[in-house]
């Protein structure tokens, strides 16, 4: 089954993610990043944040569930076993901090086929409880052409 390029613009139901201090610490520790703003609430507050601040790429943890809902959509026809990660982009309105409840709405941002490769960009818009934007995450996945 080929990538269904007619799904461009399709939106998926929003998913909720509660940002935990220990998850931020775990993520930063896994990356080996000892930046105090990720571990020490006082250090984060000294920088003007309300709580521990999340590393920029922590947004992939927040958006993971909604991104999987797109990948697993049977209408999309993405051959996941052949997928490699092509591009990634984060556009922040403000940083993510511990303790907040975020809502992510994913959509098919673009879908095309080039030289037999299926190229899909999933857009995940993250907003706070008031609906104000926090970050938009763009992940481009490439399903490589079947050889021969």
């Amino acid at each position: 089954m080929a990538l269904n390029i007619e799904l461009v613009g399709k939106q998926y139901p929003p998913q909720t993610y509660e940002v935990g201090r220990e998850k931020i610490r775990e993520f930063a520790a896994a990356v080996g990043d000892e930046n105090p703003a990720y571990h020490d609430v006082g250090a984060a507050e000294a920088l003007g944040h309300g709580d521990l601040v999340a590393p920029p790429t922590f947004a992939v943890v927040v958006t993971r569930g909604s991104q999987l809902a797109v990948i697993d959509d049977p209408e999309l026809g993405l051959e996941f076993s052949r997928v490699v990660h092509g591009n990634q982009k984060f556009q922040f309105t403000r940083p993510i901090v511990a303790g907040e409840v975020l809502q992510t709405t994913a959509s098919v941002h673009s879908a095309r086929t080039m030289a037999g490769n299926d190229i899909l960009t999933i857009r995940s818009d993250v907003a706070d409880q008031a609906g104000a934007p926090v970050v938009s995450v763009f992940a481009t996945l490439v399903a490589r052409a079947v050889e021969g």
Partner: protein, 142 residues
């Protein structure tokens, strides 16, 4: 937000302090757990080589997470990163030995934007091979 570097302290060409990051198999396991990305090519050498990879490879997002530390350590506030994007051009193979893989990251200011923002270009290499392409961050300076 409180970057410790001011926009008046930089110009096009200003270099950020480079850093080297060592990735061992254990780092891939930790990142898999913390991120929820359990794709087998990041921890199972048999499967990785079966699908044509040279070895187990690091998560692209792990390399991306390490590379941006050159920016966040430099500017003083991780919250000052407004935009961050990259292409994943080559995989980072992580052999099963104590040295693992080393990713060398450098950065420089390539554009001064409005409102105290600058654009930084990052270069990330593993054994001399560029593993990230067009890796760029927009940073809000003081």
């Amino acid at each position: 937000m409180a970057a410790t570097v001011g926009v008046n302290d930089v110009e096009v060409g200003t270099e950020l302090p480079p850093q080297s990051f060592t990735l061992l198999r254990v780092n891939l396991v930790k990142y898999a757990g913390a991120s929820g990305d359990f794709n087998v090519i990041h921890w199972n050498e048999r499967v990785a080589t079966e699908v044509g990879l040279p070895n187990v490879i690091a998560h692209g997002m792990l390399t991306m997470a390490e590379a941006v530390r050159v920016v966040t350590d430099w500017c003083g506030d991780p919250g000052a990163v407004i935009e961050y994007s990259t292409k994943f051009t080559k995989p980072v193979p992580v052999p099963d030995h104590d040295a693992g893989a080393t990713v060398d990251v450098s950065g420089k200011v390539i554009e001064v934007l409005d409102a105290g923002r600058v654009k930084v270009e990052l270069t990330a290499t593993c054994e001399g091979v560029r593993v990230l392409g067009m890796a760029r961050a927009v940073v809000q300076l003081a």
